[in-house]
């Protein structure tokens, strides 16, 4: 026990003490934030950076061109007299000074079709601007044409926007608002975290085992302790270092969240003058969406999810990392691992894709079996959990996973103790099987 603790401490320090670990741990959250903000930044740059585009409008009805709003992105210029046939000629004559021609056909009232012509790509923002402006205007025009007084107001009153609030009855009879979106997101996120950390640690363990073997330090160490202790010490030490990294990230995330939240709160409380008009209409809606998101997010019962996440993490970690350790012991250099690694990788990726597939139908037979079978259960069950899985299934899944993980650790240890001392020839699966005996 004492030796195991020593080995764990050495493995742990050899990773956590590394400069690259410290840098990666501290930089990774910033990298993620940077990556996440790229779309926002590019959208912002696109908005600000581009000059106003000139759009020619040929309105054959003569009634709707004025409805197109000019802003700093698009400047709509109505052209009189030109017909569809010479639009191309007009576009060419403009020699790039206009970026598109909008043609509102004479029969737009009945067909509802508007054409945009351009040599370049038609950007979605242009489409949506035209669409929303013309839809409203033509709709109003139609209503006005009916000749019924106050029809506009009547229709507006009749108009509804369906918003779904999923209410879940809890066992105690309380009503809780739940959201499948949040549940799905949570399930996938936890599943990906398990997959990624197990995969990441597994490869790290494998490379460490190979390195110890090529270093020849392994023979010195196993003359002082049992190979099993070395293998377990390594698996546990790497696992603890990964948990440390996770804990640091959670703390950083918490700090970033608090700072970010207070920053948002500050800007939100000081609206700029030009936001006042539009902002007054928009803000309450955003506010209520956000609060309903929070309400729904809080409605999920996190305790069983967190407990199960930690259990599945540990069990799945043990299962796969033992395999990685055994494979590492069977080769002389890291580049030889690929052949032995392929089946394990396939299994792991299958577990991940199965989890993704089960999102569609978390109570289906595929989801059921994959969440019971040990090699896929850690990832698949995490996706199912937010959807209330019967307790017996969870217990069965854990029992099978623990039993399999222990069996795999035992088998891996047998391969490992032979593998670390065998040099020279590349081990095949047949050799591994022989070593089990």
């Amino acid at each position: 026990m004492n030796k195991l603790r020593l080995i764990i401490a050495r493995e742990y320090m050899s990773i956590v003490g590394r400069k690259s670990f410290i840098i990666m741990t501290l930089l990774f959250p910033f990298l993620m934030i940077a990556l996440g903000s790229i779309p926002i930044v590019t959208a912002y740059l696109n908005d600000k950076g581009d000059q106003t585009q000139q759009i020619a409008v040929i309105d054959e009805t003569g009634r709707y061109a004025a409805a197109l709003p000019n802003d700093n992105k698009f400047n709509f210029v109505a052209i009189k007299g030109d017909t569809v046939t010479n639009a191309r000629e007009f576009y060419d004559r403009a020699n790039g000074s206009i970026s598109a021609i909008v043609i509102i056909p004479r029969d737009v009232d009945s067909t509802g079709v508007v054409n945009i012509y351009s040599e370049g790509t038609i950007i979605p923002a242009l489409e949506s601007t035209i669409k929303s402006a013309l839809t409203d205007t033509i709709e109003s025009a139609h209503l006005a044409a009916m000749g019924i007084p106050n029809l506009q107001q009547i229709v507006e009153k009749a108009h509804v926007n369906i918003d779904i609030h999923a209410i879940k009855w809890s066992d105690t009879g309380d009503e809780e608002e739940s959201s499948t979106d949040i549940a799905i997101f949570l399930g996938i996120a936890l599943s990906v975290i398990i997959f990624w950390f197990v995969f990441f640690s597994g490869t790290m363990i494998m490379n460490n085992v190979v390195e110890e073997k090529t270093n020849r330090i392994v023979e010195v160490v196993v003359s002082s302790c049992r190979p099993f202790q070395l293998m377990m010490g390594k698996i546990i030490g790497v696992g603890l270092s990964v948990l440390t990294q996770m804990a640091i990230w959670i703390v950083l995330l918490g700090i970033a969240g608090t700072i970010g939240g207070s920053l948002l709160g500050m800007t939100g409380s000081v609206p700029t003058p030009d936001m006042m008009g539009a902002g007054a209409a928009v803000t309450p809606e955003v506010e209520s969406e956000f609060s309903s998101f929070m309400r729904q997010a809080l409605a999920i019962n996190y305790t069983p999810i967190i407990i199960n996440f930690l259990l599945y993490f540990v069990e799945g970690y043990l299962l796969y990392c033992a395999i990685f350790a055994a494979l590492g012991s069977a080769v002389d250099q890291a580049s030889d691992t690929s052949q032995l690694l392929t089946p394990v990788m396939l299994l792991m990726f299958f577990a991940m894709y199965a989890a993704m597939g089960c999102v569609e139908n978390p109570d289906g037979p595929m989801a059921f079996w994959c969440s019971i079978i040990p090699f896929t259960s850690p990832t698949v069950m995490m996706v199912r959990l937010p959807f209330d899985v019967p307790l017996w299934q969870i217990i069965l899944s854990h029992v099978l996973l623990i039993a399999t993980a222990l069996a795999i650790v035992w088998l891996a240890a047998r391969i490992y103790r032979r593998g670390i001392l065998s040099y020279g020839k590349k081990a095949s699966f047949k050799d591994l099987f022989n070593w089990l005996k």
Partner: protein
């Protein structure tokens, strides 16, 4: 009673036998040579003593008791293929190896300082292993082997990778450890070092013991009754007493004679003294190297 007593140890691997009933008795406080060509089974035997692998049959007794896993704290093992954690600091590494052998942290640190001082490595304590020269790494490895002052030391080719100056220092340390009471099992191909440090040897070939005994005994057993004679005269062969051998291929100075079977040395010398102006003579004992080659070769031909 031997300190380390190995009885009928058998080890099979898939397809071949690494040890076919090997027995060996290592007395306390001696340097015992375990010799043999590559693949003879030396490493397997050493790993069994270190409890890295288990024997299929046979027993290993240490100090009168059957060895258990706890006994590995009483062994210091320097494997032929050396290795250290390259990224670890020298001091930390030595302490780690000491603590793995059951030392307390304080003891291990004190002992580490003492040994680093002894090998002039003091200023390297906080350097990473990879920053050291190969020779220095070997010294660190040696310190890691002996830091817990084990009563049984197993050295597999300890001198490989050392320059003559460092090899000499290492030899002095090994002899000092023996004088302090350690029993040393010494596995090597280097027969010159066997003659220098070993009192007893066992020669393994093809998974079996083919020769065992003290170095002197073994040499006596293998002597060919050859005498190097120093004389200014030219000696003529006398078939009843001796035959003339071609001169030593390296040192050409002496005349070498081989005594006829059954002729005692003193009779031959007396006869020579009578007929020639004898200035000196020495009995030529075979070197361990010759014995090694001869034994291994003859056993190999026997098998064929």
């Amino acid at each position: 009673m031997a300190y380390l007593d190995i009885k009928n140890v058998v080890k099979h691997y898939e397809g071949h036998t690494a040890l076919a009933g090997v027995s060996m008795e290592v007395p306390e406080g001696c340097i015992y040579g375990l010799l043999g060509p590559n693949g003879a089974g030396k490493s397997t035997l050493i790993r069994i003593i270190n409890r890295i692998i288990t024997a299929d049959e046979g027993t290993v007794t240490l100090n009168g008791r059957k060895m258990t896993d706890n006994d590995i704290t009483h062994i210091g093992y320097l494997p032929e293929e050396r290795g250290l954690y390259k990224k670890m600091k020298v001091g930390d590494h030595i302490v780690y190896l000491g603590r793995l052998k059951g030392m307390t942290k304080a003891d291990a640190v004190a002992s580490m300082h003492w040994w680093l001082d002894r090998f002039d490595l003091k200023e390297w304590e906080n350097k990473k292993v990879e920053e050291l020269s190969k020779g220095m790494q070997q010294k660190v490895q040696f310190i890691g082997t002996v830091i817990h002052r084990p009563p049984l030391l197993i050295f597999d080719e300890p001198f490989s990778g050392f320059d003559p100056v460092n090899a000499e220092q290492l030899k002095v340390e090994i002899l000092a450890l023996r004088d302090q009471g350690s029993t040393i099992l010494f596995s090597t191909h280097n027969m010159a070092s066997v003659e220098e440090v070993c009192q007893q040897i066992t020669l393994l070939n093809h998974a079996q013991v083919v020769l065992t005994g003290s170095v002197d005994e073994v040499k006596q057993q293998h002597k060919k009754n050859i005498i190097a004679v120093q004389t200014p005269d030219k000696i003529e062969p006398n078939a009843a007493v001796f035959t003339l051998l071609p001169p030593d291929p390296v040192k050409k100075a002496d005349t070498r004679i081989k005594l006829a079977p059954g002729v005692p040395v003193r009779d031959a010398i007396a006869w020579l003294n009578e007929h020639y102006r004898l200035t000196g003579f020495t009995e030529v004992l075979p070197s361990m190297n010759e014995i090694f080659i001869e034994t291994v070769k003859s056993k190999n031909t026997e098998q064929q």
